[in-house]
């Protein structure tokens, strides 16, 4: 196996592992979906540029690096695209080279045709604002032609030399074939090219020595990436399998993705194993077109507001506990409570995202960027909340609610059905359990406190939980009038509980003290009515949060209605009764 200690650094020339006379100059911008990494190789017979990207400043840097290298040894420049997506290809025609330097461009046939036809779909130019120009530069090197003319195919250079492109498929032990082409770079070094579709039909991976450039294959199963035009589930699984085999059986040391830092081949294999597991479920991913991205962007806004509210309450409750522990002169315990959850990090993640989402409304940030950022935020928050000690501190129900909301978002971006996967339960039963939980917490906590009195550590934990049960719903007077009929509705029990809890807590948050809950079954629908005779401004819930609940119920064939008059206010939730589905 490869040497996992080899590091590839950005913005310097360094030896390519496994190819002594070839050097690499990686350009690795801060990870974004506007412009990709670029890798420049310097070999005896050619300079090779992989993925120029889509940023003019980056193009100027590439041109400077090439010009300096060419001053030492004039050679042809060969530009390769790992695939034709706009963030990798846009600047392929923009390099400025000294007079007399010949440039030849290479890409997979499907990508060459897409760029030639100015196809906004396969190049995913539709994702970017302002109709950015699709690369119109000529591509002389057409890789993996569907009907090869002759072998090897050759490009003639002006000085009479030839670049010969050899086709040599690899037969894998399981009977599969890894399509391979290669050309010589001098001193016995090869540039090998593998067809690795899935992210796009024109996706290729490139190898020099024991360094493998993978383009966007490592992200191809990510929410917000899978389903892009040209994405293919079966091809992706095949490519992951083939590249994994390549990493396992060849002396590969380093893998370089199209965005972000290079990692060891071993780490990439582990990533691919996780991807294979994740990708195996992605059988029915809908097309991630402009319309769907716009819809997801709205959902991202709503999710942001909902998650921010849940986590701000969560963090605020930790602060409240720390306040009371301080009053009890338990400063160190107060500090431990706050240290248990990285509140500042959560706040920083959410604040950054909020500012970015706001910037979307006033600047040229593509909707897709906001959706991808939403995915990144959701994944980060899920990791923070999944830590065992977070679950142990307090209110696991609130943490679970936030987790489910984030998971739903990721599933939706993935294009998966998520709301029907849980077991439904009668609405009457869900409400009864919710009310029992709200009212029952205090007595249970009191017992904990009494039992822990001889153990300082346990006492503090019990005290923390007791302080936490200064519950949002504990002081509310509920009156529940259940329907006499069966109230099974088309929604999982946990999601129904989440929605009801959020609405009831919202009512408590605006100061409502008495809430009537009634269920009714009529016209094939289960109706849940949360009403109060007290004044209640639904605006205090946040419009986007209510939109989110309404949208969620809408996906299930239901709705959320908010009625308000001088006599009070009510929420009416309607869901198709399960029998009628």
């Amino acid at each position: 196996m490869g040497d996992s200690s080899i590091k590839i650094e950005a913005n310097i020339w360094q030896r390519v592992p496994g190819a002594d006379s070839v050097e690499i100059f990686p350009i690795i911008p801060k990870t974004n979906c506007i412009s990709s990494n670029c890798f420049i190789f310097s070999a005896r017979d050619a300079l090779v540029v992989v993925d120029p990207g889509a940023n003019r400043e980056q193009t100027r840097q590439i041109s400077r690096v090439l010009t300096d290298a060419l001053a030492l040894a004039p050679r042809p420049v060969l530009v390769f695209l790992t695939h034709c997506h706009q963030d990798h290809s846009q600047e392929a025609g923009g390099l400025e080279l000294p007079t007399g330097i010949e440039i030849k461009r290479f890409a997979h046939q499907a990508g060459v045709e897409a760029m030639k036809n100015q196809d906004p779909n396969l190049t995913v130019a539709y994702l970017y604002l302002g109709n950015p120009g699709i690369c119109a530069a000529p591509f002389e090197g057409i890789l993996f032609r569907s009907s090869p003319e002759s072998e090897p195919s050759a490009l003639e250079l002006e000085d009479g030399r030839r670049i010969e492109l050899h086709t040599e498929p690899i037969a894998m032990p399981d009977g599969a074939t890894l399509q391979r082409q290669w050309l010589l770079l001098g001193d016995g070094n090869r540039l090998e090219i593998y067809h690795t579709p899935g992210h796009s039909p024109c996706s290729i991976s490139l190898r020099v020595g024991s360094l493998l450039i993978l383009g966007d294959l490592p992200f191809a199963s990510n929410p917000g990436v899978c389903g892009l035009n040209g994405w293919n589930h079966a091809d992706l699984l095949q490519s992951l399998h083939k590249v994994n085999w390549l990493l396992e059986t060849s002396e590969m040391a380093v893998c370089c993705p199209g965005h972000g830092y290079c990692i060891s081949a071993q780490s990439m294999r582990e990533k691919f194993r996780m991807m294979e597991a994740e990708a195996s479920d992605l059988t029915d991913v809908p097309l991630l077109d402009a319309e769907r991205i716009s819809a997801l962007k709205i959902y991202v806004d709503e999710l942001l507001e909902e998650t921010t509210a849940l986590l701000t309450i969560f963090s605020g409750r930790l602060y409240t506990i720390s306040y009371y522990l301080s009053l009890l002169e338990e400063e160190s315990a107060a500090g431990r409570i706050l240290a248990a959850l990285d509140i500042d990090r959560i706040d920083g993640i959410l604040s950054d995202f909020r500012r970015m989402a706001e910037a979307f409304n006033t600047s040229a940030v593509p909707e897709w960027t906001v959706v991808l950022k939403g995915v990144q935020v959701a994944r980060s928050l899920r990791l923070i909340l999944a830590a065992e000690h977070v679950q142990q501190i307090l209110d696991f129900h609130l943490v679970d609610r936030a987790q489910r909301r984030l998971l739903d978002f990721l599933s939706l971006v993935h294009g998966l059905q998520f709301l029907r996967t849980e077991q439904p339960k009668a609405a009457n039963e869900v409400i009864a359990e919710l009310l029992k939980r709200a009212k029952g917490a205090q007595s249970a906590q009191s017992n904990d406190l009494m039992e822990a009195v001889d153990d300082d550590q346990a006492f503090l934990q019990a005290l923390t939980r007791r302080l936490d049960t200064h519950s949002r719903l504990r002081n509310i007077d509920f009156e529940f009038t259940p329907a006499p009929q069966e109230t099974n509705a088309n929604i999982g029990a946990e999601r129904l509980d989440d929605l009801l809890t959020n609405l009831l807590e919202g009512m408590a948050g605006v100061g409502v003290k008495r809430i009537n809950i009634a269920t009714r079954v009529a016209s094939g629908q289960v109706e849940i009515r949360l009403s109060s005779r007290e004044r209640m401004d639904p605006a205090a819930f946040g419009k986007r949060r209510l939109d989110l609940y309404n949208r969620t119920l809408g996906w299930l064939g239901g709705s959320l209605e908010c009625n308000q008059d001088s006599g009070g206010a009510e929420f009416v939730m309607r869901l198709p009764a399960l029998q009628s589905i």
Binding site: T308, A309, L311, T312, I313, S315, G316, R317, Y319, T320, I321, S322, Y323, Y324, S326, L327, I343, D344, I346, D347, G348, L350, S351, R354, R355, E358, A359, H470, R472, E505, G506, A508, G509, V510, G511, D537, A539, A540, F541, G542
Partner: protein, 104 residues
């Protein structure tokens, strides 16, 4: 990018601070410094007007907590004035209304 502006008014026995803008992890320090200074330098009541605060994150809550703790040592409570409904609701659900006076 939205900024937070804080102004200060000394009344007879009360200091009133008025915040305008979002209070999040980026801006919370702009509130913390004048609020804690007002708490330390005044022996009277300290009030914070949030009428024009568009957003409050947990970073803002921490600032309230620090001020509340400092005031509690001399038997006072922090008073928040003109608190927007949505922020009032968050403070209520987080338990802050048990140690801070909040007026909508």
């Amino acid at each position: 990018m939205e900024e937070l502006k804080v102004t200060l008014e000394h009344l007879e026995s009360t200091v009133v601070l008025r915040a305008v803008g979002p209070v999040d992890s980026t801006t919370a320090a702009s509130l913390q410094e004048p609020l804690l200074r007002a708490v330390e330098s005044s022996s009277g009541a300290v009030q914070l007007d949030l009428a024009q605060v568009s957003y409050l994150s947990s970073a803002g809550m921490r600032v309230f907590l620090l001020a509340a703790k400092a005031l509690q040592k001399r038997g006072e409570r922090l008073r928040l004035l003109n608190v927007p409904q949505q922020i009032h609701s968050l403070l209520n659900l987080a338990g802050f209304t048990s140690f801070i006076d909040v007026n909508s």
